[in-house]
Amino acid sequence: MKPGTRTLLAGGAVFAAMSIISVQTPAQQRLAAQQAPSGPEVVREEVVSGPAAAGGAAAGAGGGGAGAAAGAGARKAGAAAGAAPSRFQCAAGQNGGATDKGVSATKIRLASTHVLSGDGSSFLGSSHVGMEAVVSNINSKGGICGRLLDLTLRDDGWQAPLGASFIQNFINDPTGYFALPVVPSSEGLTQAIKSRYIGNGKVPVVGTDGMLKEQYQDPYVWPVATATVSTMRIMAKQAYDSGARQFGIVWDSRYKFGKEGAKAFEQYVKKLPGAHLDANIGIPPGQPSYPDTERFNADCGPAKRCEFVAMLLEPGTAISWINSMGDDSAGRRLGFGSKGTGGAQPLFNAKFARDCGEPCNGMLLWTGYNPPIGEKLNLPGVAKYVNDVKAIDPGADVSNQFLEGAYLGMTVFVEALKRVGPELTRARLKEVMDSLAFQSDLASPLTYGPSRHYANLGAQAFTVRTAAGSFSGFADAGTGFILDPSPGDFPSGG
């Protein structure tokens, strides 16, 4: 395959992507318009090697000239990204063999920690299914440039020291692992980042899903999740845009997502003209009842109900909190906003909604992905996600956002590998990741830059619906992906 052919293929892929953008929701269009100048390349996830890419080119041709101008710009950038001289070809036996640690002619060795035992296994326990779904998909098509993906997963029990030491072991493995994709065990990863194992080892960690700020600030980590701080600002922005001025927040004071998110929420609300944060309460998780509700109600209670209340809690804590709330004179549960209540991604699950029941009716739950719910199921990317995962584990809960995040993270990683091509090195992977723009049905478009690893800036809301007092399902709130109003702002402290 000659360089010219490669450029042509890349151009075809861009065309394919542009054609999809043209049928997006208004929010996404706004987003695309914002990002088009800065985003060097936009590719669609289905782009695989050789033959599939040709299909993509065909699709691009069918899509018309909607993005002709953008495509031209993109082609230039694409040429730059793919400009490194390639002595090898993207085919088995001609890929250059062992181009870097963990890479051989037939294999790319990858490693990751995950959680099968201990506290986090309830919501992170199925993440490996998402990763394995992508891997088996790719391997069944012959791998990437003739190299199969060889993924090693290890359970670290969500214990930070153990997970960090596993990651350090992976980095220093004598045979070598090329990269660490996804790493669902966030505690260990966070510690490994703070301990500078990742930075010193210069090992790419692609597609992480932990949402904590450390992951967005390391030059070798590229998350796919929307940061907790972003989600909280988006939540506040949406509420403000719908007319709310009096805000309240209750957050988990034990775990870091609570502190980080609450800080960002507080800072953002204080900047909004006319808005004020009336209640700001951090609570410890796992109490039998919460007398703290009394204080919350003093600030945000029956006398002057807050217009918007954000709940940055884990499901169990949130249920105890809601149960400790009294009702107002109209019989409505206190602790909810008069114009809306928002929950962050930890609450985005059916079990929470079921356990909460009537009081949570109308509550908005936010996620950074397109969950397989309602109309979103019709999106080809989402449908493919569901099918891929069910093929690996028919019993997997596909609405688990951590599972979907792991799938997306692995997909992004695979995409980057493809774009690096046969001469696979960590340096080139970093180069590619640092200029990757990735478009899929699973999330808002991801745009990475050298000092911009907070690629996913969008979050959208789903409404909890109840019928006869019990949970009847989630409904799309129609917000679309709203973008973080102050991207890249990770407040210190917390």
Partner: protein, 742 residues
């Protein structure tokens, strides 16, 4: 027997190996064994750089060092002093965060920051110890649990305390760092971590084999008994807390430096329980066991990293390990060598033929090496004390390092030692492996010539004061009063146990205190010893008012005692039980014990000699090295009296010493009491057995319902009709009935 081999510890080893004479056909020579040791040492030192050692194994070797240090810290507190801690993660956490503060805030470099961490751990352990002083075992367990809880919920979540939880370790040539060592490198850290652990083991082994260590064991065994021997129980506990906190803090420091980041989740209550599990699996009182258990738990991590099939069983495995050890193999890993040795010996028949050539080559190589090393090291000899006379007792330094050096050079390098003169060579009796009949081992020296007055002075412990048999004045009022209680009243709530009781013991007297059950004898006894606080009255010892003084102060003034329910230290040998009693005559302190100073060695030698003398005097040689818990009751009574004697007390209080003894044993006890009296020691005796008391006492006090009923010379009181009618009659009948029942 060379002088070096005379020290008791040394002798134990010699007899221990003598017992295994039947087994081996092939053996490493001494030099060969030294060579093996050098080989092991070389392996340990080269470990990080051995090509076949995987990176993950190295990492877990470092984790093992951290576990080992925490476990040693627990061994000191829980294993040796018996103070249970369910909150060690709290101390470890404080050590880690204080280290972070020092490194991040004050820019202290690594080796020095270890001291900061250790100090931090100590700073929280000591206040916790102060609380612990006031309470009993399980209250302490809750206190430490609460401490860990406060750490988990409050301290480790405060911004000001944890803001340096991530640190940059590599020092860049500051004054307090060793420049250009990348401490965050696993290989370099291995040396730092294990050097810390080895140093900790060295210091703790020194401590264990010293007066301080014995006072730890004594407090664990029985606090009242420890206090009665002059040990300050409070201070001992506090010292243990300080040492334990120091080690835990150092471990926290290592954890932070090894990981460069810590999270509060690493120091939770569950973690406290985990640390305790490591110590328990190690055997809870053994330093070597701690290291072994640390490796076992670190190996679990390795197994979970290596074997995919184990996934999901991480939490189950460590819980199961603790349960298995606790229920099925209580001695923990420390017990493995003892259990395994006989089996290995049996295997030798098959292994020896294969090993023979290897062994013979090693021996040759080792002998050659030893000669070479010895020749070169001999030049150092001039500086060290030399000359060995058979009339000297030599206590070798318990320091492992120096002993190792000494052995490596075939004794050419001498470990520092203390030389103490004795009149005669010591005889430790038959080796402990030859078990004598225990039924009648206690015979008393009165049957022998050794009790003649002339030899008594030389045989008595700590005879700073000249002692001869006291010539008592005929009139009691002219005798020197050594112990006096005046108008003692003791109340428990509304119950009056003693009311206005006065008694005195004069020099050289045996004073009996009798009365029916519930008369308040033991209460009075405890008031005199300092265990009860009297509501009114005054107690004098040797003319000094001691009414408010704690038990150990009174002991230091020269009062010894025994207990109705025997309070020997069950886990210690008879020899060590008596050795504890030398506590008050050993002037050296904990720091001297840690550093094994010559002064501490000299004091140790003197203490051992004293115990030797008493053991010979009371003919306890047959049981000297047996664990107290394994001995029959009659022997224990004698040992307890012997222990009181070793303290050098001038008054000994015996609380129902004859209870539980048969006639034969009681007769011996009477002989012993008379013998002690012949040494010039006064005795206050509580007894049920009226016949025995009147037989042995000079003076009798009769107590009834908390009041003094009668007093006088024993023969007069025994004949006093009122007393006989009212009390003794009953008591005598009772005693006779009890005897008939036997």
């Amino acid at each position: 027997m060379s002088a070096a081999a005379v020290s008791p510890r040394r002798t134990e080893r010699v007899t221990g190996s003598a017992a295994s004479t039947e087994a081996p056909t092939v053996r490493l020579s001494v030099a060969g064994r030294r060579l093996g040791l050098v080989g092991v040492l070389a392996f340990v030192l080269a470990f990080p750089y051995l090509p076949f050692v995987p990176f993950s194994v190295l990492g877990n070797a470092n984790v093992a060092a951290q576990y080992a240090l925490v476990s040693i810290s627990l061994v000191v507190l829980v294993g040796w002093v018996g103070q249970i801690s369910l909150g060690h993660a709290g101390m470890v956490g404080v050590g880690a965060y204080v280290t972070g503060m020092a490194m991040g805030g004050l820019h202290v470099g690594f080796p020095v920051s270890l001291l900061w961490g250790a100090a931090g751990g100590m700073a929280v352990a000591v206040p916790l110890g102060v609380v612990a002083l006031r309470v009993r075992g399980l209250y302490l367990a809750v206190a430490t649990l609460i401490f860990s809880w406060i750490g988990q919920e409050f301290l480790f979540r405060q911004e000001w305390f944890t803001k340096h939880s991530s640190i940059q370790v590599s020092p860049v040539g500051k004054w307090d760092t060793i420049p250009y060592f990348p401490w965050d490198d696993r290989k370099v850290f291995y040396y730092a971590a294990w050097a810390t652990v080895v140093l900790a083991i060295y210091l703790m082994a020194n401590l264990r084999d010293s007066k301080t260590g014995r006072s730890f064991f004594a407090v664990r065994g029985s606090e009242v008994a420890a206090a009665s021997l002059g040990i300050d129980v409070m201070r001992t506990k506090l010292a243990a807390f300080a040492v334990s906190g120091l080690l835990a803090g150092a471990a926290g420091s290592l954890i932070l430096v090894g990981q460069q980041t810590v999270t509060p989740d690493a120091f939770t209550v569950e973690r406290s329980l985990f640390f305790l599990a490591v110590a328990v699996v190690g055997g809870l009182s053994s330093l070597g066991g701690s290291v072994a258990a640390a490796f076992v738990f670190a190996f679990l991590n390795e197994a979970f990293f290596r074997v995919k099939a184990f996934e999901g069983y991480l939490t189950v495995a460590s819980a199961a390990l603790l349960a298995i050890v606790l229920l099925l193999y209580r001695g923990g890993l420390a017990q493995v060598p003892a259990d395994l040795a006989p089996r290995l010996r049996r295997l030798r028949v098959f292994v020896d033929p294969v090993l023979a050539p290897v062994v013979s080559w090693t021996n040759r190589l080792g002998d050659g090496l030893a000669r070479w090393v010895g020749a070169h090291a001999n030049r150092l000899r001039g500086r060290l004390p030399s000359g060995e006379r058979p009339t000297e007792v030599v206590i070798q330094s318990p320091s492992a390092l120096l002993a190792l050096l000494s052995r490596l050079t075939g004794g050419r390098i001498k470990a520092p030692r203390a030389v103490v003169r004795t009149e005669a060579p010591l005889d430790l009796g038959p080796p402990k492996d030859e078990e004598p009949e225990l039924a009648s081992i206690v015979s008393l020296p009165m049957n022998r010539q050794s009790a003649e007055p002339g030899s008594v002075a030389s045989v008595l412990p700590f005879n700073q004061v000249e002692r001869k048999p006291v010539v008592m004045a005929a009139d009691r009022d002219e005798r020197r009063v050594v112990l006096a209680a005046e108008g003692i009243t003791v109340r428990f709530g509304g119950l009056v146990a003693n009311e206005d009781v006065s008694l005195k013991v004069c020099e050289g007297e045996v004073v009996g205190l009798i009365g029916p059950n519930g008369a308040g004898k033991t209460t009075l006894f405890n008031a005199i010893a300092g265990l009860n606080e009297p509501a009114a009255g005054r107690i004098e010892l040797f003319g000094q008012d001691v009414t408010g003084l704690p038990v150990h102060h009174r002991a230091l003034l020269g009062v010894g005692r025994t207990f109705q329910a025997i309070q020997l230290f069950a886990q210690l040998s008879v020899f060590d039980n008596l050795l504890v009693a030398t506590h008050q005559h050993n002037p050296t302190g904990m720091l001297a014990h840690l550093a094994v100073t010559p002064a501490s060695l000299a004091a140790e030698a003197e203490a051992r000699q004293t115990v030797q003398r008493v053991i010979r005097l009371l003919d306890l040689r047959d049981v000297a090295h047996r664990r107290v818990a394994d001995l029959p009751f009659g022997v224990l009574r004698m040992v307890e009296v012997a222990r009181a004697l070793v303290t050098g007390a001038k008054v000994i209080m015996l609380d129902e010493p004859a209870s539980g003894l048969d006639n034969n044993e009681t007769d011996r006890l009477v002989e012993l009491i008379r013998f002690i009296r012949s040494l010039g020691v006064s005795i206050l005796l509580i007894e049920h057995d009226v016949k025995m008391v009147t037989n042995v006492s000079d003076h009798l006090y009769v107590l009834d319902r908390g009041r003094l009923l009668a007093e006088g010379p024993a023969f007069l009181v025994a004949q006093d009709e009122a007393v006989v009618a009212a009390y003794l009659g009953r008591a005598v009948e009772h005693g006779a009935a009890a005897e008939a029942g036997r």
